[in-house]
């Protein structure tokens, strides 16, 4: 038993041909965020603090679909959502419809700690943010040129997408469109366990490209995108609607608890049997310090490390998987 941490920057149809200039900054971000998380665990920070810290880093990074770099609604606006859960107490916090809050995950944490509620959304959440004095900026801060392009393309193709890491050139035919869109980088998230078996999970996103205004996905839904109890902590990514109906994060824990599956087995079962192919990825850690990263998409931006020195940063399936 020791500490363990895993984080993701989204699962989807990430083309193996992803250009270096698009791949490298994302890999560098994974490396950086992993280090931030590992250092915090080594400094004995609680897993709840660690997952919040790591997700803040991912939110601040414009290459991932959370905080800055969030994808746009069909009106070209930003609506961010996030949730956080503490395994020991099963306390949780969630937010949706944020437009000015620099770090949605931190607001989710404040909802958990400073209100009698679990979930605040839209105007009410923004008002709460101001009352709490959390950092807010003009909504334009979150919008990147890349995402403006993505929205344009999605509208042209009349698609709602999770994300679109493929090159922006219109003549690019490499994508293999599925029924409801192509490459899927839905979310960012982090799970962590310390050497005492305390677990926590956090997930944050800008949602789907070209989503309807007011659309809520799986990310702020406890049991869907985020879950932690005293057995494991899970953060999921992919097609929100599928993750919600599959109660993905909760099911990993339920399989461990009710069927005695191991962390790895439970995660594999959920991504293989409970959600259609091409729709989901997740990272999870167990109270025993195990880690697993499972997905049924082409790839998932991910990284993990355990106290015994193992670490991995990857996008596509690694050889031994």
């Amino acid at each position: 038993m020791g500490w363990a941490i895993a984080l993701h920057g989204g699962a989807g149809d990430i083309p193996v041909s992803l250009a270096a200039e698009r791949r490298q900054p994302r890999e560098a971000a994974l490396r950086h965020c992993l280090k931030v998380g590992v250092d915090a665990l080594k400094a004995q920070k609680s897993p709840l603090d660690v997952v919040e810290l790591v997700v803040r880093e991912l939110e601040n990074n414009p290459h991932y679909n959370a905080g800055r770099g969030s994808v746009l609604t069909r009106e070209g606006t930003i609506e961010m959502e996030a949730s956080i859960m503490d395994g020991n107490t099963k306390r949780c916090g969630a937010v949706s419809g944020l437009t000015t809050v620099v770090n949605p995950i931190s607001l989710a944490r404040l909802v958990m700690e400073k209100t009698p509620h679990i979930y605040l959304a839209f105007d009410g959440a923004e008002r709460f943010a101001r009352e709490q004095g959390i950092e807010t900026v003009d909504s334009s801060h979150f919008i990147t040129q890349e995402n403006i392009e993505r929205l344009k393309q999605a509208k042209e193709a009349n698609r709602v997408q999770i994300d679109y890491t493929q090159p922006i050139q219109k003549d690019e035919k490499k994508e293999t469109p599925t029924a409801d869109g192509d490459s899927q980088i839905g979310t960012v998230g982090c799970v962590a366990v310390d050497s005492h078996g305390n677990l926590a999970s956090a997930t944050s996103t800008g949602g789907l490209v070209n989503k309807m205004v007011g659309r809520i996905g799986d990310t702020p839904i406890i049991g869907a995108g985020t879950y932690a109890n005293n057995l494991c902590a899970v953060s999921a990514t992919g097609k929100g609607e599928a993750i919600m109906r599959g109660t993905v994060a909760r099911d990993v824990a339920a399989l461990m608890e009710f069927k005695g599956l191991s962390l790895k087995e439970a995660a594999a079962y959920v991504v293989e049997e409970c959600v259609p192919r091409g729709n989901v990825g997740l990272v999870a850690v167990s109270a025993k310090g195990e880690v697993t990263m499972a997905y049924n998409t082409t790839g998932m931006f991910r990284a993990c490390a355990t106290e015994d020195g193992y670490s991995e940063i990857a996008i596509w399936p690694s050889v031994q998987n």
């Binding site: 509620h117 309807m212 609607e241 109906r245 109660t247």
Partner: protein
Amino acid sequence: MGGWAIAVHGGAGVDPNLPPHVQEEAKKLLTRCLNLGISALRSNHSAIDVVELVVRELETDPLFNSGRGSALTANGTVEMEASIMDGKGRRCGAVSGLTTVKNPVSLARLVMDKSPHSYLAFSGAEDFARQQGVELVENEYFVTEENVGMLKLAKEANTIVFDYRIPAVGSETCSAVAESPLQMNGLPISVYAPETVGCVVVDNQGRCAAATSTGGLMNKMNGRIGDSPLIGAGTYACNLCGVSCTGEGEAIIRGTLAREVAAVMEYKGLSLQEAVDFVIKERLDEGFAGLIAVSNKGDVACGFNTTGMFRGCATEDGFMEVGIWE
């Protein structure tokens, strides 16, 4: 075994001093809703249609906390939410932050059937409602005088200690706080409005469905979302069962209560009643909640650890029961 089954609820956590005439009204409403559902089931309507139509009836009646008669936010306005789930295919729809939609459960159904998404909220949901042409009314329509009074009491309760005697709303109730300091969601039980209505159905083809609708917690912060619109928490249906929960939102969300019933059936092979009992007994920790459930085999069950739950259930073999207390 086999055949259709239906259960409805009007919320868990009932003031033990609730005046008898209000209890009678509640039972009459539950009976009426059950009969509506039974009639539809006998006419071979699908489970998903039946749960929607029954919850619409509960929303329209001002007695319980949903649609008209919803609890009020801290500003005295109404913000409603609902969710619906079809066990066949586990399709779902949910809405939050509605202020003008007369029947939130029907908008949730439209989200499920007519939008590319599963959950819409606040102004986006209201825009969608307009596009879909559902019946819209002014926010005042949902506000009842009784709830205006309750809001005032809730605000007072939030600034007082337990021995304050809360004056009665309605002629016959006496204060609850000093004599029975029961609380739910941080409010004395005489002021707490049981939060929700719901319906679960299994039709004669063995398909399960569930729907839940609410105005939420009295005196809630604007923008607060509870368990009712959250799939897996307040509502869940799969090919094994349909579940609708009510009570303390936090406890239901943390416990992913509705999904839990289905998960122990699915992964541990428990029967419906065993699953319901397990969840109520083991999954609520210090929280208070209740739920109703049906299974694809035609079983119906309910469970609660609160002081009462407004509920009714019926099965094809003629069983029918409406109740409030244990």
